[in-house]
């Protein structure tokens, strides 16, 4: 079963359109959603969560039409964790106990201790990192099968980010647990994701297994004249300087004998995003 199936989904705004998006996240995997600001990442997540209604297409979450999907099975962390600022972690646990039928208070308490969060400090006194950790502790404490994180690691220091990524990896150790996370921090996605999806101006540029990206794409460094030899569709993106050209290429489309070095997802994203501007 797929955790997420997005088929031909369209959403039109006055100045932006999500254009016939197709995306599949197999169960048990982590997918990273990359894109510039305004690429459509948050729109996609809002559509998944039925916060906005699409203009076309279908969305299936955990085998069910997304509007009928049981939200008990989905843990969500938004870019801002939106608890009223008078609440403490203790209050949040007590409220969520009555919101989720599958709430695990023991697990929540264990996570609060593990993440060194205070029980009685009001939310307004939390740092961004602490807020995010509380949001993640809630998302992980109700036996969710699918986690959806929208820019959850943005603005966090590297130590907290690492803690968050460890929690995600722990979560996916259980069979059929899946994660969709959008982030600007490509290195985070590169660390934990099995699949990478690139969105640009509402269009999906690619959605591929991370290992396949390493296999399919490579970096060539050559002179501007040598670059002319390459077919146009072989070059994903390039950076020219006085010393030559650095280009990300499709390995299968370059002539035999050309040497490539391994691609880095961040470079691939930056060059793909730059291309066609």
């Amino acid at each position: 079963m797929n955790a997420i199936e997005i088929v031909d989904v369209t959403k039109n705004y006055k100045k932006f359109s999500l254009d016939h998006l197709n995306l599949t996240l197999p169960a048990g995997c982590i997918m990273g959603l990359i894109g510039e600001n305004g690429a459509g990442k948050s729109t996609t997540i809002k559509l998944l969560l039925d916060m906005i209604q699409g203009d076309g297409g279908t969305i299936t979450l955990l085998g069910q039409e997304h509007t009928k999907c049981n939200k008990e099975d989905i843990g969500v962390v938004m870019d801002e964790v939106n608890f009223p600022d008078c609440l403490t972690a203790k209050n949040v646990g007590s409220i969520m106990k009555d919101v989720y039928r599958n709430w695990q208070q023991d697990k929540f308490e264990e996570l609060i201790e593990r993440l060194h969060l205070p029980w009685k400090q009001p939310f307004k006194e939390f740092s961004r990192g602490m807020k995010m950790k509380l949001g993640i502790a809630v998302a992980l404490s109700h036996q969710a099968k699918l986690l959806i994180l929208d820019e959850a690691t943005g603005g966090l220091d590297p130590v907290v980010r690492d803690q968050v990524l460890d929690l995600l990896l722990d979560f996916t150790r259980e069979e059929n647990h899946s994660v969709l996370m959008s982030s600007h921090i490509v290195s985070d996605l590169e660390k934990v994701c099995d699949y990478i999806a690139f969105l640009k101006k509402g269009r999906l540029l690619l959605c591929e297994e991370k290992d396949m990206l390493y296999e399919q794409y490579g970096v060539v460094r050559c002179t501007a004249e040598d670059m002319q030899v390459l077919a146009e569709d072989a070059v994903i993106g390039k950076r020219e300087s006085a010393y030559g050209v650095e280009a990300i290429v499709k390995k299968e489309r370059i002539p035999a004998g050309w040497e490539t070095s391994p691609v880095n997802i961040e470079e691939l994203f930056v060059l793909m995003a730059k291309e066609g501007r």
Binding site: M51, I52, Q53, P84, L87, S94, I95, K97
Partner: protein, 209 residues
């Protein structure tokens, strides 16, 4: 629903504690004042604004957005606010009735046989009207336009009807305002409250976040 009520009660305790104290003080003072009109009706007016205050806080903290990721339907989210509104108005009305009865007894030298109880249903009907009409009008507007714009629209609507009322009363000063039995007033207020809930649910179920 229980989780949402718990969250709102937490917020009430933290943000509206002073309001609760004011309500208690006014109700108590109302019990001992000879002319208790203002002291009896003011607490009900204040408490009728509670759901709107809570919705504004939800918007401010973006809880309304986060709530869409929880296993709580939009209908239940709206219903909880109406339920809280009804319960809080009911509690304050009961306190005001108790204060009014005490005041009536006090004025009659605690001789129940000389008290004119006939004024009590009228008093209750006015409290119910004051407590329910304001949220009935406000909540759908707040759900439709958001807290800031919703309040503005509310003031415009109320201003329009006040101006209309003033014009009608000037031009038709001879016109008699029909009087309704108290139970009919209470019933109409409850029906209005129910219609308002239906409208709010419809608005909120279509809302895009």
């Amino acid at each position: 629903m229980k989780g949402l009520l718990k969250k709102d009660l937490c917020m009430l305790w933290n943000y509206c504690r002073s309001m609760i104290l004011i309500l208690a003080a006014f109700t108590l003072v109302g019990a001992f004042m000879e002319d208790s009109f203002f002291y009896s009706f003011y607490p009900v007016l204040i408490v009728s604004m509670l759901p709107v205050t809570l919705i504004s806080y939800d918007e401010r903290f973006k809880w309304d957005i986060y709530c869409q990721s929880l296993p709580i339907s939009r209908r239940v989210q709206v219903t909880e606010k109406y339920l809280l509104s009804l319960l809080s108005v009911l509690v304050v009305i009961l306190c005001c009735i108790a204060a009014q009865i005490y005041r009536m007894l006090d004025m009659a030298g605690f001789n129940a046989s000389v008290i004119h109880w006939g004024s009590l249903p009228q008093f209750v009907a006015m409290l119910v009207g004051l407590g329910l009409i304001s949220p009935s009008l406000m909540i759908p507007l707040i759900y439709k336009f958001g807290a800031e714009k919703g309040r503005m629209v509310f003031f415009v609507v109320v201003g329009f009807f006040c101006a209309l009322g003033a014009m009608v009363s000037v031009k038709g000063s001879m016109m008699q305002v029909p009087s309704f039995p108290e139970f009919a007033v209470i019933l109409v207020c409850l029906v209005l409250f129910g219609i308002s809930w239906l409208i709010s649910v419809t608005i909120y179920e279509k809302k895009q976040f």
